[in-house]
Amino acid sequence: MSSMTREETQALIQEVLEVYPEKAKKDRAKHLTVNDHEIEQSKKCITSNRKSAPGVMTIRGCAYAGSKGVVWGPIKDMIHISHGPVGCGQYSRAGRRNYYVGTTGINTYGTMNFTSDFQEKDIVFGGDKKLEKLIDEIETLFPLNKGISVQSECPIGLIGDDIEAVSKKKNAEINKPVVPVRCEGFRGVSQSLGHHIANDAVRDWTLGARDDDDTFVQTDYDVAILGDYNIGGDAWASRILLEEMGLRVVAQWSGDGTISEMELTPKVKLNLLHCYRSMNYISRHMEEKYGIPWMEYNFFGPTKMAESLRKIAAFFDESIQEKCEVVIAKYKPEMDAVIEKYRPRLEGKRVMLYIGGLRPRHVIGAYEDLGMEVVGTGYEFAHNDDYDRTIKEMGDATLIYDDVTGFEFEEFVKRVKPDLIGSGIKEKYIFQKMGIPFRQMHSWDYSGPYHGYDGFAIFARDMDMTLNNPCWNKLKAPWLASDDDEASVAAAGE
């Protein structure tokens, strides 16, 4: 099956929805659509950012995951207290691979878990005293921390603790930023609200810290990287390109970032936004308050990268634009070699994606550079502004699914038969057991970086080694294989 027509795709959606009860069917139908380039606004064809139906498998996270895990967690020189019971922090600890430079436990704390470990008595009598004590202990044990954030877990909101009051008091006492974040897990329908809450906390508690201080020497070429979490070193691979162009990267939000960088961000000339979903709020705020323009860019795959680099350079003078062309030309032979090597091995392969944030649309260009086709894509927690952008990137009559359930995703895969799936760890082993090559695209399957020119070479290699792995011919036990299978295995082995 090469590609499906619009009618076939529509029929597939109908067929998959058949098993649901009437109400769930009606509800889920709104989240599945066939891409149509003629539709300008996604709200005409897809509903997003709605509560998942009870009883279906969803891979969404909670507001705490969005705030502590995504936005605040990677800020390396702050200590992020998971305020509440121990599990939320412990089971999400150090799994995201947002790399940083520093000595963990001395001046950086990225992979550590700090928690107030709520017990029954804290729920009954309140946990504010415990939080104060915890902050004092942190100050004694980790005196080089540059600030503390209090990431609320569900019980904090339920019992009505006043973490803001504690934070203000401790802020005055220790003379470091103490940021209360009201990201209780029950808020919102997914981690997306956690991003928003975290952005608001940044806005209210840290961003204006150096407004009256002009000791920081500014240049005309200051930029900040927003929404790059340095998964497997992504932000570093992006940063070097910007620096080669002659720009000065003042801040990285928040992969390998520091609180000081965040406080300096209002002094830059341009905000570069990679993950639109998680950081557009703060970009809009900075545009309004400080007049800093922001732009979205895409550093996946050479085609999109050249486009983005030129778009970035257009904000600056000719010297930057010249250097931008030099950078693009410098990496071109390298990229051509990568494409020459891997494209013949990957040409025409079909990919289905189901990820979060920016990747369901951003990586499409990288796959296309390798001659692959994305036949289905979907977001865990996108809003309609993300789908507006996705419609343009995706091919006509391809599948788009929002907050897809485990059942729907499996059925789609069975029918569409993609050659590769990119999704999360919870999907990985199901699809691998179904015999379909799979890449875990949340943390690049323990590889990376995938951003930037360096990243693309790794991306291409990873896709090749997954897709063309000889293990996919060996899924059938030898004594069950027919003669035909043996012949094909032998042919593949040549």
Binding site: Q41, R284, N384
Partner: protein, 70 residues
């Protein structure tokens, strides 16, 4: 009465962003759009209509304003 942030898009058109709804659409027409005042009935490209009492002097964008459903 949602708070709406209005900013300039790539083509210098005004974008109407409703934070609560994560909706961002270009503004099609503005009833009063002069040097001295800006506001009145605002129509978006998706067809929805919003109202704000004309602001004088004309605000500088980007800015956040409170609109009413028209």
């Amino acid at each position: 009465m949602p708070s709406v942030m209005i900013r300039k898009g790539d083509g210098n058109e005004l974008l109407f962003y409703i934070a609560k709804k994560d909706q961002e659409d270009p503004i099609e027409t503005v009833e009063t759009d002069t040097e001295e005042a800006w506001g009145g009935l605002v129509t978006l490209t998706d067809g929805s209509e919003w109202y704000i009492d004309p602001i004088s002097p004309r605000p500088t964008f980007p800015t956040t304003l409170r609109f009413k459903r028209a």
